[in-house]
């Protein structure tokens, strides 16, 4: 019997979000259909979950027989994921008005996706990892198709589901081969130990490499890295915009973290095989994402390609984690980057919703931003800040995120990759700053002089994101210390430390 009641404390945030999801759906179908009540409960509930994630700690070392990690790093990730869900729900508050969405289902699915993301980000076992990915993805497939009257949204759900199910097949086959090659192990730490046994006259079987490759394909699909990115622009464009914002931040963060955990903590001894492959993928992702983004006229598609290129930067941290001694630096850099990316991306999508709503046809063309600064200096200023941060120009959070990830990669000796990354960032300045140029240097049109009518919820998101981006850009020390100290102790349950 391996169950210990304090294990429950380690998954308290997951339990809290799940309970919240159940509460919301039951209120929706049993008691009230008032949207305000549901929104209030969800938002307050998520704030409570954040508090739970920050303050509740479990001393249990081996949670649920090593199924999930229990350390500060994981807890900060859960705070981040809750924050993503919270902003997505705030963003949805006024977006949903006048749309014939089923609000209860909508919020419940966002919450269930968050549960899946949390499980995924904290998993240290192939089984938990798989279930986390599936819980998250199934909720997202339905969310992508929520605009039922819109054919683009249906297309998004269909594409996302079919390709997602296909990639799950790759992932599962890879898991099976890895399980077989390591003699029946599913725990990351056990896999790491089993792999150290290979070498010399006991070479690793070829199907171990095949398994690692297939898992890589499955995870690269989830983070939308080139060449497994084809779904993402269409899905991002078709999905309701708050869902797009949620999708670009949350699932990407959860998947890249499990990528880091699996490859950095379970498969470091195989890094000679996977580091070069991931290096090529990261380089191609950074360059392709940014170059295609240059020609986009629709801001949602542009942000989709931008998010592809950001997956490339994040992959640099995964690659660096494969080198001994750099693991915790890479993890810390990734945590910082994810926080920064979340803030600037959520902010940018909020402005995109605001601008598109005021337009006649409610579309997302970049032309709509012409002359925005004249009538809405504050909104234009916030958007400019988000764009500058996405480019990675100091003094913004985006700059330090990139700096930490790139410096981890340099320490690990991947200097050509970092050079490519910096060049790709330079390319990205063209399309990010184009929006700034449109807002400040183009004359306003009849369309753009319309009042955007930002509601309190949207104002809050923009203000919070802007302040935090500047804060992290000017004083990154505290956040960095937090990331550093927590990533030193990333637990790897069950692992017997052997000196070789």
């Amino acid at each position: 019997m391996t169950f210990n009641p304090t294990d429950l404390l380690a998954i308290a945030p997951e339990i809290a979000v799940l309970s919240l999801a159940i509460l919301v759906i039951m209120i929706e179908v049993l008691i009230s259909r008032s949207e305000e009540v549901l929104q209030g409960i969800t938002a307050i509930g998520l704030l409570a979950v954040m508090a739970v994630s920050i303050f509740v700690r479990s001393t249990s070392a081996n949670v649920f027989s090593g199924m999930v990690a229990n350390d500060d790093f994981t807890m900060y990730l859960k705070v981040l994921l809750t924050g993503i869900a919270l902003l997505a729900i705030l963003m949805s508050k006024d977006y949903l008005k006048g749309k014939n969405f089923r609000v209860g289902e909508y919020y419940t699915l966002i919450l269930l996706a968050t549960v899946g993301m949390m499980i995924l980000a904290s998993s240290t076992d192939l089984v938990t990892m798989f279930l986390g990915i599936e819980t998250m993805s199934i909720a997202l497939y339905a969310l992508a198709g929520f605009r039922s009257e819109c054919s683009k949204s249906n297309e998004a759900a269909m594409k996302y589901f079919l390709l997602g199910a296909f990639s799950t097949g790759f992932l599962l086959y890879g898991i099976a081969l890895l399980y077989g090659a390591t003699g029946g192990k599913t725990n990351f730490a056990d896999i790491g130990i089993a792999i150290t046994a290979f070498g010399g006259d006991n070479p690793a079987p070829a199907y171990l490499y095949a398994g690692i490759g297939l898992i890589m394909v499955g995870l690269l699909f989830k983070v939308a890295a080139v060449p497994f990115h084809f779904w993402s622009p269409d899905v991002y464009q078709g999905a309701p915009t708050p869902v797009t914002a949620f999708m670009s931040a949350g699932p990407k963060a959860a998947a890249i973290i499990v990528f880091l955990r699996l490859f950095g903590w379970a498969l470091p001894d195989m890094s000679i095989a996977w580091q070069p492959i991931l290096g090529v993928v990261a380089a191609v992702t950074m360059v392709t994402g940014n170059i295609i983004a240059l020609s986009q006229q629709n801001i949602k598609r542009m942000l989709a390609y931008s998010s592809i290129s950001h997956a490339g930067y994040l992959l640099l941290a995964v690659i660096a984690a494969g080198t001994a001694g750099i693991r915790s630096d890479a993890a810390a850099g990734m945590l910082f980057y994810l926080v920064a990316y979340y803030l600037m991306n959520m902010g940018a999508f909020t402005v995109a919703i605001l601008v598109s709503r005021a337009r006649l046809d409610g579309d997302y063309q970049i032309n709509n931003y012409q002359g925005l600064a004249a009538n809405h200096p504050w909104i234009a200023g916030a958007m400019a800040l988000f764009m500058i941060s996405l480019t990675g120009i100091p003094p913004t959070a985006g700059f330090f995120g990139k700096l930490y990830v790139f410096s981890a990669a340099v320490k690990a000796g991947f200097i050509p990759l970092v050079v490519i990354g910096v060049l790709a960032s330079a390319i990205s300045a063209f399309y990010y700053l184009r929006i700034v140029v449109y807002m400040y240097m183009r004359p306003e049109t009849a369309e753009s002089s319309k009042d955007l009518k930002p509601t309190p919820a949207w104002k809050t998101i923009m203000i919070v994101c802007s302040i935090l981006i500047i804060y992290l850009g000017v004083m990154p020390g505290m956040m960095m210390k937090l990331a550093d100290s927590s990533s030193q102790k990333i637990s790897s349950p069950n692992r017997v430390v052997t000196l070789k």
Partner: protein, 118 residues
């Protein structure tokens, strides 16, 4: 392997019986037909004219998916039932949690009126 011999035997007997019953009716049964008797039997209604592959309502598919979900739920019950005594109270509690979460799903389906046919 030898443990499964009875299963194999059962399958052989079933296959034999099915074949035998068909053969017996074909050879022994009298064949007096008329046009009405030749019509395909469709629950007493007249046969669907034209192509039998008419398009279904998506509602059927919804019911089928919900069936699959609860079928999978039941699949988890078998090993639990076999191990019920050894697992003790802990096993009971964990299964109750599992079933509670799916009960929420069931309640949602009923209250949404998904299974009501219009």
């Amino acid at each position: 392997m030898i443990d499964y011999f009875p299963v194999l035997l059962l399958m052989v007997i079933v296959a034999f019986m099915a074949a035998a019953l068909l053969a017996i009716t074909t050879f022994i049964g009298p064949k007096r037909t008329n046009p009405d008797k030749e019509l395909p039997f469709e629950t007493g209604n007249l046969p669907t004219p034209g192509n039998a592959r008419a398009q279904f309502s998506v509602h059927y598919y919804l019911v089928a998916i919900l069936f699959v979900v609860f079928d999978v739920e039941v699949a988890f019950l078998y090993p639990w039932a076999v191990q019920f005594k050894q697992l003790g109270l802990f096993g009971l509690i964990e299964m109750l949690v599992f079933l509670f979460i799916l009960f929420i799903g069931w309640l949602f389906i009923i209250r949404r009126g998904v299974l009501e046919w219009k």
